[in-house]
């Protein structure tokens, strides 16, 4: 019986998407459990899949959506339109698509269904109190009996909880002290029939979706709490408090929106449209119009609008892709950057330097690691969320004396911080602290508020004096066998189409710098598990510089010239600076090239900071660079940067396709050359890893924008953090999911256009088709319209659009337009 209940818990939790803690925020598709369903067939209570009709019409009025976009979207969505005859109405001829467009422009918009907030459940206050106490990593008083698990600890303590009545405590005491038997007993006490168990458990899990999603992640990663224990506590409390099981919110099916008499409603629609197209329509004409309108019920209108909205952007983007060819000769510097859309701006500015070439690759550079720094506590999983950590990389100092001095300095800083923390949290000492050091903290707070840049400089200088940096290197040879290193290097070269090697190749990871920002990790590298990509760049450079790796690559057809040196660097996406990591490992022979690159990267960064200031709330291009960059250190700044707002597409192909276009930092750019990947393995890896991560990011932004109350974390200004786990809006309640509102909007103005990811690939169509056929995750995403795919085999062949029935020609526009 117990195992059966556990199976029921697994069934109930199947559609719950595990959410990473905000300390290592991973963008995810919050509706990923439905990816095997067609996008427009999803019916999730309280969740909106598209924008509102008035918003679409406003975009039509502004030209963001055009009539050809609508006609194209209708033809894409309704195959029957292609064979439909032209209709004579009044004295004019109308195609079926034009009639449908007329209806879309005129039909009454239904107001969005308001989200019905259920009455506050008295259970939640108890549940959230205990869960938060159990999972809080920084609790000053850890919950007793924690080792026995959540349910057992709660069972032992709640019988002393004064907030519960004597009867409730007695009922809890009578329940088993283990989760699974207690859950079984509670379900029996509540009278839940066997056939209703899964439904009951599903409803309970849906009560606090934020906590549920986090607990699912935690059960799969740390394992100290799981959903069985959580449900056991919930249902035990229901039994104790005499509360009935939570009813499951009804899911409005597709039939739920249908009018009582569809035929009558269709005829009314036809009459209405006929009257607008013809002064006195005959009954036969109305019937003809009805035959058209039946193909496009009103429930489909928002999805057609959305398809047109996306098609407009995609068509312009595809037309901006050129037939360019790679610059002749060997480049002097190659900069490999993450596919993150923010890299596009840097790459565009860097490429103004003659002889400099850029490439795009997933920001972990194909080296997934669990990293422990030399002086660090604990390890960081710097790898995509799609992978489990298998390789533990550490850091080894190259100068023992400097390492010793740094360790001594860090110990001092650590002791000072600990002493301060202890003084702040003891009973009487805070008063003494305020009396003695209050003036100092007052002054620093004043500086920090009014001159954040100065405060940062002073703090950094002070810390550097006490604990000066110590040179080090990452220890890849301990973590990866030679065969593994060679395989990773070969995969990276194949995937990014690195067909020639410059004397200097800069592998540039990225990070974001901001303070007082609970969502800082959402701005770091998604391919590195919401961490800065420095260690991955360093590890990859070490692998590529390893002579034994190069010797093993040669028989595989990859010859890295002896004069080629790989250098690791880090791009700060707020200041747009590129910092060279491990400069002590760069040989003197390449010092000049590296110095020139640094100078050029500085100039590119300055240009990009000013360019980004045109769209950054509160910034202006005429502000000084120092002021624009000081946003990173301003503790009142809620927009340190725009992150990946605006992300809309992913292009997989050689850089010369896009080098002449300004993509406005909206596109994930993955380099790829078909000729270097004859069996398609590299493309399969790109489509099943970097593209999946890009899709997660895209859908996180999409749904956070469309569902600010349910799938966005809401405004940052009222967030309260629970350790590095998540945030509450206010002082209690559910953990908020998704991105904060400031990541996607400023006030009521959207910073992010909610468009589903347009994937654009230059590779043989047959190869792409084979890869999709072999991978269910790709079939689900492309066949069910979660994302779109446009491809061409070569620069001289036309673009094709992937459909579930095969490849179709991609619509073109006669007038080339800007992508934004």
């Amino acid at each position: 019986m117990s195992l059966l209940i556990q199976a029921h818990v697994a069934q109930a939790a199947h559609d719950v998407i595990a959410v990473w803690p905000i300390g290592s925020f991973i963008a995810l598709n919050p509706l990923a459990a439905h990816e095997s369903t067609r996008f427009e067939n999803i019916h999730e209570p309280g969740i909106t899949l598209t924008q509102t009709l008035p918003r679409y019409r406003a975009q039509y009025a502004s030209g963001r959506i055009t009539r050809p976009d609508l006609i194209s979207a209708l033809h894409e969505r309704i195959g029957e339109l292609d064979g439909f005859p032209v209709l004579e109405l009044g004295r004019m001829a109308w195609s079926a698509a034009e009639i449908l467009v007329e209806e879309m422009l005129r039909s009454d918009s239904r107001p969005p269904t308001p989200r019905t907030l259920s009455a506050a459940d008295p259970l939640e206050q108890h549940v959230t109190k205990w869960v938060a106490a159990f999972v809080d990593p920084d609790a000053q008083w850890p919950i007793p009996g924690r080792r026995d698990g959540f349910y057992s600890a709660w069972h032992a303590l709640s019988v002393h909880d004064p907030h519960l009545s004597r009867l409730a405590r007695r009922r809890i005491r009578s329940l088993p002290d283990q989760a699974l038997p207690a859950l079984t007993a509670a379900l029996t006490h509540l009278g839940v029939a066997d056939g209703a168990t899964v439904q009951t458990l599903t409803a309970e899990l849906a009560a606090l979706p934020g906590w549920t999603s986090y607990l699912k992640w935690r059960s799969e990663h740390s394992g100290d709490i799981d959903l069985t224990e959580y449900l056991a506590v919930r249902l035990a409390l229901r039994h104790a408090l005499d509360l009935p099981p939570r009813p499951l919110s009804p899911r409005p099916g597709p039939d739920g929106d249908h009018p009582p008499d569809p035929a009558k409603e269709l005829w009314a629609r036809a009459e209405q449209i006929s009257a607008t197209l013809s002064p006195s329509p005959t009954r036969a004409e109305v019937a003809m119009v009805a035959r058209v309108l039946i193909l496009h019920p009103p429930t489909d209108h928002p999805f057609t609008w959305q398809a047109a909205y996306e098609s407009h952007y995609r068509t312009a983007l595809v037309q901006s892709i050129t037939y360019g060819t790679a610059a002749p000769g060997r480049p002097t510097v190659q900069v490999v950057m993450c596919i993150d859309p923010r890299s596009e701006g840097v790459r565009r500015h860097l490429e103004s330097h003659p002889g400099l070439e850029t490439l795009g690759f997933a920001g972990f550079f194909g080296v997934p690691v669990r990293f422990t720094s030399f002086q660090g506590r604990g390890a960081v999983d710097s790898l995509p969320a799609l992978l489990r950590p298998r390789h533990a990389v550490t850091e080894s100092p190259t100068s023992p004396q400097r390492a010793h001095r740094r360790s001594r300095g860090l110990r001092f800083l650590d002791a000072a911080a600990h002493a301060l923390h202890a003084t702040e949290n003891a009973t009487a000492t805070p008063f003494a602290l305020a009396e003695t050091a209050g003036w100092f903290y007052g002054a620093t707070t004043f500086t920090r508020t009014l001159a954040p840049g100065l405060h940062h400089t002073l703090t950094r200088t002070w810390r550097t004096l006490i604990a000066p940096p110590s040179p080090s290197e990452v220890t890849v040879s301990d973590a990866f066998s030679l065969e593994e290193r060679v395989t990773l290097a070969e995969a990276a070269v194949t995937m990014m189409g690195l067909h020639q090697f410059a004397p200097l190749i800069v592998l540039t990871g990225h990070r974001s710098t901001s303070i007082n920002n609970l969502y800082q990790s959402a701005l770091d590298c998604g391919a590195c598990g919401g961490n800065p990509g420095a260690v991955n760049a360093r590890a990859a450079a070490a692998i590529f510089n390893d002579p034994t790796v190069r010797a093993a690559l040669a028989p595989r057809g990859i010859t890295i010239p002896e004069d080629t040196v790989f250098v690791a660097a880090l791009h700060d996406t707020v200041a747009d600076t590129i910092t060279v990591l491990d400069p002590h490992l760069v040989p003197d022979t390449h010092a000049t090239e590296l110095a020139e690159f640094i100078v050029h990267a500085r100039a590119a960064a300055d240009h990009l900071v000013r360019e980004r200031a045109t769209t950054l709330p509160g910034a202006h291009p005429h502000q000084s660079l120092a002021r624009l960059r000081a946003r990173a250190h301003d503790w009142a700044e809620v927009y340190p940067e725009l992150g990946l707002a605006g992300n809309a597409a992913m292009i997989i192909g050689p850089r010369e396709m896009t080098a002449s276009a300004n993509l406005h930092r909206r596109v994930f750019l993955h380099s790829y050359r078909t000729e270097m990947d004859p069996d398609g393995t590299g493309l399969e890896t790109i489509l099943t890893a970097p593209m999946i991560v890009a899709q997660w990011i895209n859908h996180q932004y999409y749904f956070s924008t469309l569902n600010p109350d349910v799938l966005s974390a809401g405004t940052k200004t009222i967030h309260n953090a629970i350790g590095g786990i998540g945030v509450l809006a206010g002082h209690s309640g559910d953990l908020r999911r998704g991105l904060p509102w400031q990541s996607v909007a400023v006030g009521d103005t959207l910073l992010h256009e909610p468009v589903r990811l347009s994937v654009i690939v230059q590779a043989p169509l047959e190869r792409i088709g084979d890869i999709i056929s072999g991978n269910q995750v790709l079939r689900d995403l492309f066949d069910n319209d979660w994302i779109t795919l446009t491809a061409r085999p070569s620069p001289t062949t036309p673009w094709h659009r992937y459909t579930r029935y095969g490849w179709a020609s991609q619509p073109t526009r006669t007038h080339k337009k800007e992508n934004r």
Binding site: H8, H14, L180, S773, N775
Partner: protein, 105 residues
């Protein structure tokens, strides 16, 4: 059979993302261990599965194999059958023989 002890072998092939639920069931059933093979390829009810992916453990199939005494296997099989009424995956149950029964008790 050759002094071996009869046991029940249960094999599951499930999406990688569902493997934790199966592992939890196996553990709760009292199995002393299991073998996991990720990146399983083949063709099944949902079409083709190409197998191991270089940078994605999440969207591949995983095979989990466990061996346990027949009397304990019954409950695991019942629970797994229930799970597969709503989740994708297959289960194979066979009689098997082991030389060290104490390893599986």
């Amino acid at each position: 059979m050759h002094g071996l002890t009869e046991m029940t072998k249960v094999e599951f092939v499930v999406p990688g993302r569902d493997a934790p639920s199966i592992r939890a069931l196996i553990t709760a059933a009292g199995a002393t261990g299991y073998t996991a093979v990720s990146g399983v390829s083949g063709i099944g009810h949902h079409g083709q599965h190409s197998g191991a992916l270089l940078f994605n453990d999440y969207d591949t199939l995983t095979m989990l194999i466990t061996v346990l005494p027949p009397e304990r296997a019954e409950e695991l099989i019942t629970a797994a059958r229930e799970l597969f009424t709503t989740c994708s995956g297959v289960m194979f149950v066979t009689d098997t023989y082991v030389s060290r029964p104490d390893y599986f008790q």
